[in-house]
Amino acid sequence: MNKTIRDQATNLSRRRFIIGSAAAAGGGLALGFKVPSGIGTAAAQTVANGAAEVNVWVVVKPDETCVIRIARSEMGQGTLTGLAQLVAEELECDWKNVTTESPTPGQNHARKRAWGDMSTGGSRGIRGSQDYVRKGGAAARMMLVQAAADLWQVPAGEVGVANGVITHAGSGRSTTFGKVAGAAAKLTAPDPKSIQLKDPKDWKIAGKAVKRLDTADKLNGEKIYAIDLKLPGMLHAAIKACPVFGGKLVSFDEAKIAGRPGVRRAVKVDDSAVAVVADTWWRAKSGLEALPIVWDEGPNASQSSALIAEHLKQGLTANDAFAGRQEGDALKAIEGAAKKIEAVYSTPFLAHATMEPMNCTVRITADKAEVWVPTQNGEASLAALSNASGLPLDKCEVYKHDLGGGFGRRGGTQDYVHQGVAIAKQFPGVPVKLVWSREEDQAHDFYRPISQCRLVAGLAADGKLVGLHARVSGQSINAYLNPAAIKDGKDVRQLQGYAKDPGDAQLGYTVPNLLIEYAMRNTHVPVGPWRGVNTNQNAVYMECFMDEVARAAGTDPLEFRRALMQGHPKHLGVLNAAAAKAGWGTPLPAGVHRGLAQFMGYGSYSAAVAEVSVGNKGEVKVHRIVIAIDCGHAVNPGQIAAQVEGSVAYGLSATFYGEVTVEKGRMTELNFHTYQILRLASMPKVETVIVPTHDFWGGVGEPTISVVAPSVLNAIHAATGKPVRSLPLKNQGFTVV
């Protein structure tokens, strides 16, 4: 069981001791914050109860428990268990003795970023840390072995280790990690250059579908999400921000709710939000509903989905797009082609809709600021806390709770921490728990950006693709969150998945004349990264249109693609694997049709084949979806399958129901009656094929979501004979059964 918040929040003396011992020992070698090996903490770091911190990644207790330190956030994606597997593999401990612990951002800061980057996003939790955490496990093993060798006065090279037991064959002696950990912790760390990592082919713990370490307390009620937190004397805050983005708070009449039981204060949070604080959240929420508030909604109050759609449509043919891909002369090739196919696709704003809404608990005193928060980036929460409270970093602490959903909402955007501090400052010394209602969460997201895409293809007389022109017109995430990241006016991030060169998101097709452009058209709606970010809509555009083109050529969609993928063996590999597993080309029961899609993102290659039937009234049944993924090294095949299944659930919900529309400037779908989620009965059978190429590290959390929608849409196309060019399906006459 992962000892995190409960221990850290309540066992203050142990927490102070960990930080204090680091300081007393000089904090170890200063390795520079860019290289978080943590291998070089020189002095003995004795933790409570005789446990020994061999290095920052591994603590060994006298009872043989190996506590592996996990720096990244756990949001259900299984990174905690995967990282523990990688460390344990090199450590050569007994997996049964492994438990985990998460250093706080404050501890990371106090120990000069010994654990490195804590941010968890971009499907980088494992691939971004595997090298140094494996080295950390290996270094700890080497020190434990050396400690035994020193004890026995034999060369370390004669000492063997497995499952936490250290042996010297020559003299028949053996000992265990728990017995030598104290001595090991006093040794100097090995030179990182001397550390040999195991070949993944020899993995015994990593690479296996071991059970997750963190399931039990989700089932027995012990798990405390941040929204569950109870602290003595805690107050509760409910918040409302201006329903129209860009509007301002003019006034509110606190006197009208002053007499309500339990209500303490109405607090101006910032220029556009007000909160009510009470002794229970229900009282805070109902007080907020009764509070008269005057907003100045501003000029965006006249915005609507219709106006936004017009604005985007204009970008499809305007002169100001930049070319992200330009090879050959696509316009000329299409002009001279025997057959032309043209289509316009559109996809909406999507909400993250994390099951646990935005929340945090903050306590501010004159010399300490603390926040309990579900966060994808503990250091971002720490920085936000310091910035908002005005207290320096070393007077701030963040208690990271596992997240009830992240999906990109809880990383760089720490707006709820700023709000929590503004409220808690009004109640010094008192923990104040701010929880957003579902309506507030739906209305104040950083949405998946809205876009449209116009695609034109030219086919030769023999059915070969001679030219492809795609123009995406839509909102830019970087323009909203980080405009300086856009170099030379070219926002390549919005063309994710269409890249020419190998990298995180390469297009898997070779097209002789290719033009892919992006026209930036922004709106007043805040946007941000949603699981899979821009691969979602870009896969719909490319893969659904590719089926239209294949059909126009009279060619099977799989064969049509294969002909374009000879230069992309890994993309082709997953496509073939999915097709083989799904039995593409073999007969199906009457009324069942197949659709496929392939796309790359986050360093991994994905392909899907969906089996779908469509009733006369547009009732869609998704029977089965086969997903193949090549993520290079596969740390936990069971967890990969779970992530794939989760991506199908999240992806299908978005495909059938997902849209947040704008009316009178405000976001409209505010709860799960209008922003629906797939029901269990509609969930298809999901089969995961892990294509093992072993020679790289790709992500797992996000890649496969991109192929869910297009494979289902292509199956619907096969079933009905008509392409679906706009999402969600509920607006196109389809329901899911």
Partner: protein, 107 residues
């Protein structure tokens, strides 16, 4: 805040080093942001901040988009004679601003 603020003690002894704080209300448009039509919003930042004490320049900052919105500067000056602090600034668009504060210097 009005367009600018100059803060320093109202009085100081001759030779005392006093802290001066200036703040200018200015968006410091970086030239990297985009409007809704995807066009770059032109750069307009404060490029020069000058402080004069009894007519002599005692502080000058050449600034750019790397200075945060509502530029804030804090620096020190030796109080030598009663008189006036004048803050002046100019931005990319040629807009100029000025703010004054008085300092009484005693023996």
């Amino acid at each position: 805040m009005a367009l600018a603020r100059v803060q320093l003690p109202a009085a100081a002894k001759r030779g005392e080093v006093v802290e001066v704080r200036v703040a200018i209300k200015h968006a410091m448009e970086t030239g990297f942001r985009f409007d809704n039509d995807g066009r770059v919003i032109p750069r307009n930042v404060v490029t020069s901040i000058v402080c004069r004490y009894n007519g002599d320049e005692v502080f000058r900052a050449e600034t750019g988009s790397g200075i945060a919105a509502n530029p804030y500067m804090q620096f020190y000056v030796v109080a030598d004679a009663t008189g006036e602090f004048v803050l002046e600034w100019i931005d990319d668009a040629g807009e100029r601003g000025m703010e004054r504060a008085a300092l009484t210097v005693t023996a």
